[in-house]
Amino acid sequence: MANVTLRNVRKTYPGGFEAIKGVNVDVGDGQFCVLVGPSGCGKSTLLRMVAGLETVTGGEIDIGGRVVNQVEPADRDIAMVFQNYALYPHMSVFNNMAYGLRNRGMKEAEIKTRVGEAARVLELTSMLERKPRQLSGGQRQRVAMGRAIVRQPKVFLFDEPLSNLDAKLRIAMRVEIRKLQRRLSTTSIYVTHDQLEAMTLADILVVMNGGQVEQIGNPLAVYEKPATTFVASFIGAPPMNLMSIRADEIKSQLGSAGEAGILGIRPEDFVITDQTPSGGVALPLTVEAIERVGAETFIYGSRAQDEQRVAATPGELPPGEVIVRIPGSEAPPIGQKIRVAAVRAKLHLFSGDGRTRIEA
């Protein structure tokens, strides 16, 4: 049981590359913290620094009130689950879980009890004598979890533990991990690039980009009030529609004064309607493509240039493309002109560089 506090943590490689540019995160006791971001954003590096596998070149890492910058991984009282599981191939499942305990000089009887208990929880009891290669991907994943659990560490560290599993198993294991963490109430830090995993697992969501923290907060709060356009487009699938908007448009459309900036609207916040909600935005679209996934349908529409109320779109969307999500499978045919609108409360406004959220 421990807090994990990162104070202005930095990592500069000998070549001068700055992988982590000053990160401050405070994970409370028993909380589940998820680091999420695109590949290369430094989330794995940060986790490995907490584990002690990478040196810290600036700032402090504090686990349970002790600065561990100079402490060996084995003495930090942490356990880590690796992406490729990193099971010892030549050891049985039992020995894989028992290895760390034996190295700490624990009594064989105590080891038996702990491994037995972990195996029971993870439903591995019948497989204790098998070698890792005789197990399926999901079972290996559980052994890797078991190896972490038996240690009863202060902190669990997960490095994209589910990315080697197929989609169905991933969802099942995601729920398992959450339940297990709740029951053991062990402080956890979890790295993923999957925003859905991040949303569903996290107590605290840390969105990272380019070695910096973009936003920290409760997942729903991050979703509802993204602090930057990066967070807005990274959290949520399909991504938020972003379009640049002129100062006079802000005034005339939204009734509030402000500088030119970026307007963001989530696909699910549009409705197909002929009316323009007061203070809201309406867009005329031509339907370009339809994606039906059963319970919902995505409409990819383009804004005709002359009808454009907002100027060209920055960010990931091609200029003029807007994604609209509607429930059900009823959708207008391709080529039809439709009009979509979003109410004022569902609009997100950002500064022109996308770095700050403007609360109107």
Binding site: A51, L53, P73, A74, F82, Y88, H90, N103
Partner: protein, 282 residues
């Protein structure tokens, strides 16, 4: 492979049989000759069927030796050869796996120069550096000793490179998991790397044992006492007799005996080798 039809299949088999006959015939002659009476062979009347002297020839070969003045039972030669081959094989594997571990897993000053120095020794086999090596061994008073036979042949660049390549394919996460599990460098080496290297060690052992067993030039130089003779040297010495007839049955019996340990090692280790391949995965 696709099965050949009718005639072509027979041709293939016939070719194979001819090949086997060519390879196996000298071995067969050696075995047959080792069961004949020496007088028959000396007269050029050797039969191609096994003679009736199997037990007496082999008894004399193993426990007594030739009737020459410097006789040495082959059992002792085989022991010498065995000790030398085992020392070389085990020593080479031990030294090279440890140095490969150092080169791959530790950052120390002059790591790469040291690696290149090891690499360069690939170009300097025993034959090339035989004079300085002999001088060193002689100065260390290791002539006519097992240490002198084996030590100079133990350092191995090939095996070091082989283990280095293998270690570089072992995922880094295994090392990291070990570190988190509280295993230091020694434990990681002993508990994880050694078991994973089992198949490599088995394959190397086969090659290196045979290499050691077949050493000729070095033992010839380094041993002068008859009781330190290896079997390869022994065979040669038996064949050159000054005044008496060469005792061919005994020479042949010695040759047959000299073949047995390598054959045994290949057969025995091949099983382990294949089983290891199937069982282990990185």
């Amino acid at each position: 492979m696709v099965e050949q039809e009718g005639f072509r299949r027979y041709v293939a088999h016939i070719v194979l049989w001819i090949g086997i006959a060519i390879v196996a015939f000298p071995v067969y002659v050696a075995i047959v000759a080792s069961t004949q009476d020496n007088a028959l062979i000396a007269n050029g009347q050797m039969s191609l069927l096994p003679g009736g002297h199997f037990f007496e020839v082999y008894y004399q070969t193993i426990f007594v030796g030739t009737s020459g003045s410097t006789r040495e039972p082959v059992a002792n030669m085989m022991l010498n050869s065995l000790v030398m081959a085992l020392l070389i094989a085990v020593g080479k594997i031990a030294i090279s796996i440890i140095s490969a571990y150092g080169i791959v897993y530790f950052r120390f000053p002059f790591r790469m120069p040291i690696f290149w120095i090891i690499f360069i020794t690939l170009m300097l086999p025993v034959e090339v550096r035989i004079y300085p090596t002999y001088k060193i061994v002689a100065d260390l008073h290791m002539l006519d000793s097992y240490a002198g036979l084996a030590l100079p042949l133990i350092a191995s660049a090939t095996a070091t490179l082989l283990f280095r390549q293998f270690f570089m394919t072992v995922p880094d996460e295994l090392l990291e998991a070990s570190r988190i599990d509280g295993a230091g460098p020694f434990r990681f080496f002993w508990d994880t790397l050694l078991p994973l290297s089992r198949t490599n060690m088995a394959a190397l052992f086969v090659i290196l044992f045979i290499l050691g067993w077949n050493q000729y030039l070095w033992p010839l130089l380094i041993t002068t006492r008859d009781d330190m003779q290896t079997i390869q040297i022994g065979i040669r010495k038996m064949m050159t007799t000054n005044d008496a007839l060469t005792e061919w049955p005994i020479v042949m019996a010695t040759a047959v005996l000299a073949m047995l340990p390598p054959v045994f090692v290949v057969v025995a280790m091949q099983k382990l080798f294949v089983r290891g391949l199937v069982e282990t995965e990185k």
